[in-house]
């Protein structure tokens, strides 16, 4: 087990920074054939999207866990990314696939993000506002919502055009081996904007984590902050899902590890640790699988496998505060 | 007769029951008393083959409970444990009729139905027969379980704290009912009880357990004594004869 009692926080972060730098360098250079002028930009965009995804997933998961006061809920377990895909499919369903092809992808993405904020806001505010919801009920409801969203998307995809839906699916729904780089710039902008907003509330996260009653008692405007955090989470999940598609357990994996390694509950520390861990896992994992084992799309499968086991272990140890 | 011979039970590092030997005679009411954690429930579970024993043997009318066929034993001995929580949605009638399972294996004969109806009547449940268990109060539920066990119609009936969930009136009714089962129907009733006065008033025989072993046994008159109760519970009580019964006072 990773324990860093002896290390000071800054050392932990420095080590992780070094590790990410190493994995990025390895990913950029090893096995490169042909001119650097081609390889560097090609791999660079891949790296950039992975860094963005890692950042988005890590931050959204940690914040979501803070808001929901537990360490086992994550946006993807609660069906956020399935909701994004549903919205995406729903838009195509309404506009028609021909219309989508003509639309500017950035505009489309913006529409999806706005819809995502509205719907996730309504849905999850409603779920979390209940007085005594048991945690397990919430997770189960989230998972089933995920199934519902996925089935609904599948349903609409069939109705859009049963013959071409596979082609459509390939074009519209990204995965780790098929990163949708056309959205990179707008994604980066979205992430930057949310980070700026999120940064302003940095000091309240630690208080928020103490629970609703305590934080109200300490003078935090709980309802408003939770709403803002949910909006941030919605944007970040949209970004990561648009770039690489849904990754159910990655957030859980990174967040649990981050709390272990950081050995602290301060968000100023946990957030960067989680982000760096996410980058190391994604870039390093992709590098190892792709360059060493030559398994090019296995990363999300491996993540689901390991993440599922972590989740079960958390349940078995009763760590579901 | 139930013969318990050198029975022990270890759960992890702790010894719950250590080498108990005990004979429970046929007919009559036997109460087992003792402080929390004395091993009463564990002993009862082992006697009724619900819990395997670490060492020792238990025979019921000569049948070894660990080796005798389970369905044969189910016609000789029945047990009602505490905290019965059945998650299935069953009606009271369903539940009581399942008490006939050892005989009918699910194909109820008219005689089975009669016995079930009698047990339902015995416990005053006629108005509730078609209600589901999850719609009943704790006391009503407990009565339904007792009816089921009585419907099983075995010579030996074991109850682990049968008075749980009962108010005063139902508790007294229950004890009277068990007394009647012993006197009129010739059953052997074994109870784990926490209320010493109930044990004193309704039993023929009392077994006092402490630290996984039998500390004392005897008739109520022999057991309901100040020094014996003190040695079992580490607590001073006052015992008085009230209308020919030994009653303990420990409330103040």
């Amino acid at each position: 087990m990773l324990k860093s009692r002896g290390l000071r926080p800054i050392q932990v972060i420095l080590i992780l920074v070094a590790l990410s730098a190493v994995s990025i360098t390895l990913f950029m250079t090893v096995g490169a054939k042909g001119s650097w002028g081609f390889v560097l930009p090609f791999r660079g965009t891949k790296i950039l999207s992975m860094v963005l995804v890692g950042y988005a997933i890590a931050v959204s998961t940690v914040l979501f866990q803070t808001v929901s006061h537990n360490r086992i809920l994550t946006p993807s377990i609660m069906g956020f990314d399935a909701l994004y895909i549903l919205i995406q499919t729903g838009l195509i369903f309404l506009i028609g696939s021909g219309g989508v092809a003509m639309l500017d992808p950035c505009l489309l993405f913006a529409c999806q993000v706005v819809l995502m904020i509205v719907f996730s806001g309504i849905l999850y505010r409603w779920l979390f506002s209940g007085s005594s919801r048991s945690l397990h009920l919430l997770i189960l409801v989230g998972i089933v919502f995920g199934v519902l969203f996925r089935s609904l998307s599948g349903f609409m995809q069939r109705v859009i055009d049963p013959n071409e839906f596979v082609v459509l699916q390939d074009r519209l729904f990204a995965s780790f081996n098929n990163v949708d780089t056309s959205l990179l710039a707008v994604s980066a902008a979205a992430v930057l904007a949310t980070s700026l907003v999120g940064w302003r509330f940095m000091h309240t996260y630690d208080v928020l984590a103490l629970g609703r009653e305590t934080s109200i008692n300490l003078g935090v405007n709980h309802t408003r902050t939770v709403t803002i955090v949910l909006v941030l989470v919605a944007v970040l999940v949209s970004v990561s899902t648009a770039l690489v598609g849904p990754v159910t357990f990655f957030g859980l994996l990174v967040a649990s590890l981050a709390y272990q390694i950081a050995g602290s509950h301060k968000h100023a520390l946990v957030l960067p640790v989680a982000t760096l861990l996410a980058i190391v896992c994604l870039v390093g994992g992709q590098f190892v699988l792709e360059r060493i084992f030559a398994f090019d799309t296995a990363l999300s499968i491996v993540i689901d496998f390991v993440g599922g086991i972590v989740f079960l272990a958390l349940l078995i140890r009763g760590n579901t505060r | 007769m139930i013969e318990i011979c050198n029975v022990s039970k270890t759960l992890g590092d702790t010894i719950a029951v250590r080498g108990v030997s005990l004979q429970i005679p046929r007919k009559g009411v036997t109460s087992i008393i003792g402080p929390n954690g004395a091993g009463k429930s564990t002993l009862l579970s082992m006697v009724s083959r619900l819990l395997p024993m670490t060492a020792g043997t238990v025979t019921v009318d000569g049948l070894d409970v660990t080796s005798a066929p389970s369905d044969l034993l189910a016609k000789r001995l029945s047990i009602l444990r505490q905290d019965n929580r059945i998650s299935s949605r069953l009606t009271v009638r369903d539940l009581v009729e399942f008490g006939r399972y050892p005989y009918s294996k699910g194909r109820l004969t008219p005689e089975d139905r009669e016995k079930a109806a009698a047990a339902i009547g015995f416990l005053d449940l006629e108005d509730l027969t078609e209600r589901f268990l999850d719609e009943l109060s704790g006391g009503q539920c407990q009565r339904a379980y007792v009816a089921m066990v009585l419907c099983q119609d075995t010579d030996y009936v074991l109850f682990d704290e049968p008075l749980n969930n009962f108010d005063m009136k139902h508790a007294v009714n229950m004890m009277k009912l068990l007394r009647r089962a012993a006197d009129d129907l010739g059953k052997t009733v074994v109870l784990v009880l926490h209320d010493l006065n109930f044990a004193s008033c309704y039993s023929d025989y009392i077994v006092a357990m402490r630290d996984g072993d039998v500390a004392h046994q005897g008739t109520p008159d022999e057991i309901m004594r100040r020094e014996i109760i003190r040695s079992v519970y580490d607590m001073d009580v006052e015992i008085q004869d009230v209308r020919g019964r030994k009653i303990t006072f420990y409330y103040t």
Partner: protein, 320 residues
């Protein structure tokens, strides 16, 4: 009894409707008239009847399997797709397709059953490890276990280019059902009948180990019997038509609310309602976007998860 006959009648009407709709022209008139009759009869015998029979058998089987699971775990939210059973069965199918592609379907099904059995047993084992489990942890563990198993399956399917077949097992689809390709489901039907014969034992097992033992039931052997039935039914259904999510969860819960859990009484209802629900979903899937058809797995995914959510959120006061 009267109500049961009425329900049977409704299911038979649904089955008739299911026989009459579809891509090829098939009406009662064309069946009865002489000259295109042969062709229509052919469609009926080769495709329509097998399809409708497959729907009825798999709907019945999965609903009953769900009920048995709920009895064995004493938990209302468990069914083959929330206990790792389905995912293990697909893993078994994948393994047998990789190792011995040529074996007959029955052997494939048996291998899948063995995997399903192992997966479900593992699920029960993990449950015992969890201290103080609430009613809702149980399906959660099952879904997670299913996720882990299916990650393994996807990995190998990807490595060996079998994602296409994997997809067929994971989403239910009756459009491929033809004469000669659905007969395994009769095995599932036989097991459903077996479950009815053992209904009393299974109900007793559902009352918990202690109560069952007290009544002279050999608890372990009944649990084993139940697990074998569930695994084989699941494997047969997954192998022939694929998965229908939450079917085995919705139907027993609805029936339980109506008439309780005495399986001797409720099992016929569960069977009928299961068949009726799948028939309805299949008809919807075929009609809504004719001439194309939406696979039953997708329709059931929408209907099943929506109903499951309703059950969860409606019953939450009781569960909390």
């Amino acid at each position: 009894m009267k109500r049961l006959l009425l329900a049977l009648f409704v299911v038979m009407i649904l089955a008739l409707v299911s026989l009459l709709i579809g891509a090829g022209d098939l009406s009662l008139a064309s069946l009865l008239s002489s000259w295109p009759g042969e062709n229509a009869m052919q469609v009926l015998l080769v495709s329509r009847i097998p399809r409708t029979v497959a729907i009825v058998l798999s709907g019945t089987g999965m609903a009953v399997a769900g009920m048995i699971m709920q009895m064995l775990t004493q938990n209302r939210f468990v069914e083959p797709s929330t206990a790792g059973t389905v995912e293990s069965a697909s893993l078994g199918l994948l393994v047998v397709t990789l190792v011995a592609p040529g074996v007959p379907p029955l052997v494939k099904m048996l291998v899948a059953s063995a995997f399903a059995l192992a997966g479900t047993a593992l699920f029960l084992r993990i449950l015992r490890l969890i201290p103080l489990r609430s009613a809702l942890t149980v399906p959660l563990v099952g879904i997670m276990l299913g996720g882990i198993v299916s990650a393994v399956t996807t990995f190998f399917a990807y490595r060996f280019d079998l994602l296409q077949s994997l997809n067929a097992w994971t989403t239910g689809d009756f459009s491929g059902v033809l004469r000669g390709r659905y007969e395994l489901l009769w095995v599932a039907f036989g097991l459903t009948v077996l479950a009815y014969l053992a209904a009393d034992r299974l109900t007793l097992a559902g009352m918990g180990r202690d109560v069952a033992t007290n009544l002279g039931l050999r608890y372990r052997s009944v649990v084993s019997l139940g697990l074998v039935i569930v695994s084989m039914v699941t494997a047969a259904v997954v192998a022939t038509v694929g998965m229908m999510p939450f079917l085995g969860l919705i139907v027993p819960n609805v029936v339980s609310m109506m008439m309780g859990d005495n399986m001797r009484r409720s099992l016929p209802w569960i069977a009928l309602l299961g068949a009726g629900l799948v028939l309805t979903c299949d008809i919807v899937g075929r009609v809504i976007y004719a001439p194309y058809e939406i696979p039953i797995g997708t329709v059931m995914g929408v209907v099943g998860s929506a109903l499951f959510l309703a059950l969860l959120l409606k019953g939450r006061e009781r569960l909390a």
